[in-house]
């Protein structure tokens, strides 16, 4: 049990910054640049870890709680999810709701930490982030319900069981494809990627997620960055688990397939970021309501 938890966390902690590097490299290649090395997020983390804190005098302990919770939550969420051949270390009936709301918890603390600085820009960013994610939440829940219907279980580990491969071949493949698209949109929203948010923007007015972490510095910023990359990895694991349900039997091979899936998803995100413009702010809720409706429709399809 302890060994499995340690293995799962080790995979997550070691490989989490890699997809971010791949995304940035893909974007650079699309723009005709060489771009930073793929391992740049690791260097950034190491650099941030060596620096000191600069903390505003108006803030309280809540300000530091934001990054800490943001770092711990993806670790906890990863324990509920199978990684490739590794089964979920912790699993109980109904843990998919815990999975969804763990991210709600981290979002709450990030938003509260942003409000704690008293900066009006950060308050604006927090309001936007909370609005977007509360619209993305039903999509995630409905998508998990579709999977739960197929698996006949409310257990997150069991959702990615061997029945998925059968479903892809059978009648349920249509709704699986739909929820895959919906979950990809949720992934983009939750990890503040284009077309919903621009991770590289330098204008506070247009920032959504980035503005909330403007006041963090040094190791706290490192924690925010690391937490964000791990969240990306966990959400990608959800998608890859649905899209690549093949099991070879060998643990190492399964893990390699899983990691290859995560990296190709990162390339896909890079392509989407390079080819799409950012959506107008009022269009974002429309798109999210649209994906919610699509996921409800997918549920209707499997319930028939």
């Amino acid at each position: 049990m302890i060994g499995r938890i340690a293995l799962q966390l080790a995979v997550l902690l070691i490989f989490a910054p890699l997809p971010l590097g791949v995304i940035n490299k893909t974007k650079a290649l699309f723009a005709g640049r060489i771009g930073p090395p793929v391992l740049q997020p690791y260097y950034d983390l190491a650099r941030l870890w060596r620096k000191g804190f600069v903390i505003s005098r108006t803030t309280t302990w809540v300000f530091l709680a934001g990054p800490v919770v943001g770092l711990v939550v993806p670790l906890l969420a990863a324990l509920l999810l199978p990684f490739g051949g590794l089964p979920a270390p912790i699993s109980f009936s109904g843990d998919l709701i815990l999975f969804v709301y763990l991210f709600g918890l981290s979002r709450f603390f990030t938003a509260v930490a942003a409000l704690d600085t008293g900066s009006s820009f950060e308050g604006m960013g927090a309001a936007r982030e909370v609005t977007f994610s509360c619209l993305a939440e039903p999509t995630l829940l409905f998508a998990l319900l579709v999977l739960a219907r197929g698996a006949k279980s409310l257990n997150l580990g069991a959702l990615f069981g061997p029945q998925l491969a059968g479903q892809w071949q059978g009648d349920a493949s249509a709704s699986l494809g739909l929820i895959l698209v919906c979950l990809f949109v949720v992934l983009l929203v939750e990890n503040s990627r284009i077309p919903f948010d621009d991770p590289n923007t330098h204008l506070e007015l247009t920032m959504v997620h980035e503005v909330m972490v403007l006041d963090h510095s040094g190791p706290a910023l490192g924690m925010v960055l690391y937490g964000a990359t791990m969240k990306l990895m966990v959400m990608s694991a959800l998608l890859v688990g649905i899209a690549l349900p093949l099991r070879t039997g060998s643990l190492l091979l399964d893990l390699l397939v899983f990691l290859a899936g995560i990296l190709s998803l990162a390339v896909l995100i890079g392509v989407v970021e390079s080819t799409m413009a950012r959506l107008q702010l009022p269009r974002v809720p429309q798109v999210l309501v649209g994906t919610t409706l699509l996921s409800i429709f997918a549920l209707v399809l499997v319930l028939r």
């Binding site: 429309q286 309501v289 409800i296 429709f297």
Partner: protein, 209 residues
């Protein structure tokens, strides 16, 4: 294969209801027509009847009518966004409700046994309802033509299901009706724009004395 096509048809319904750009809407409906052209071949195999149905649908619904509409837009120089009576999100929700309703309703219909499973009847009903929705919730005359086209696409799905029993003449008649409808609409659109410099159907009530 057929189920995948029908799923795309349903998705295009939602896309058309949610899209704000007129040209994108026309392209979507054209794509829907072209996908439907593949449907008879997917079910009945490459028989003469199915081929005729498919080619007819592709020519009229996939190519000819959309080109006509795009040309009208260019000539009349109307603003290229859809003007809904009710917003896009409520329309989408209504669209989902009618689609879910179609799925439930199809289960109660006294159909032949082999038609009970599968997406055929629900897709046909849902596309027809979405066409109605498009007709009543959009302000521009040209989007009403689009709604009419979607309605016909729904009827076409039904027709394909029964195409063994349905004579080709009926489908040809429907297509001819549609074509004439679009022609008349095109002429009317031209007239409206000449008279009022706007294609807003709301203004038509001003014709009353």
């Amino acid at each position: 294969m057929a189920n995948l096509l029908l799923l795309f048809v349903l998705l295009i319904n939602f896309y058309t209801l949610g899209s704000a750009r007129l040209v994108a809407c026309i392209r979507a409906v054209a794509l829907q027509g072209a996908l439907l052209a593949l449907l008879p071949l997917a079910i009945h195999g490459p028989t003469g009847h199915a081929l005729l149905l498919g080619v007819g649908a592709l020519l009229f619904k996939g190519i000819f009518i959309p080109l006509l509409l795009l040309r009208t837009i260019r000539e009349v120089r109307i603003r290229r966004d859809v003007e809904p009576f009710i917003g896009f999100v409520p329309t989408l929700i209504l669209g989902l409700l009618v689609t879910a309703g179609a799925f439930i309703f199809a289960d109660f219909l006294p159909l032949a046994h082999e038609h009970h499973e599968g997406l055929f009847v629900p897709t046909a009903l849902a596309t027809m309802f979405c066409g109605f929705l498009m007709l009543i919730t959009r302000r521009k005359a040209i989007t009403q033509v689009l709604g009419y086209l979607m309605l016909e696409n729904g009827i076409f799905v039904f027709a394909v299901l029964l195409s063994a029993a349905m004579p080709l003449m009926v489908e040809a008649g429907i297509l001819l009706d549609l074509l004439v409808g679009v022609f008349v609409m095109g002429i009317v659109l031209n007239q409206i724009s000449r008279e009022f410099s706007s294609l807003n159907t709301e203004r038509l009530t001003a014709l009353k004395e």
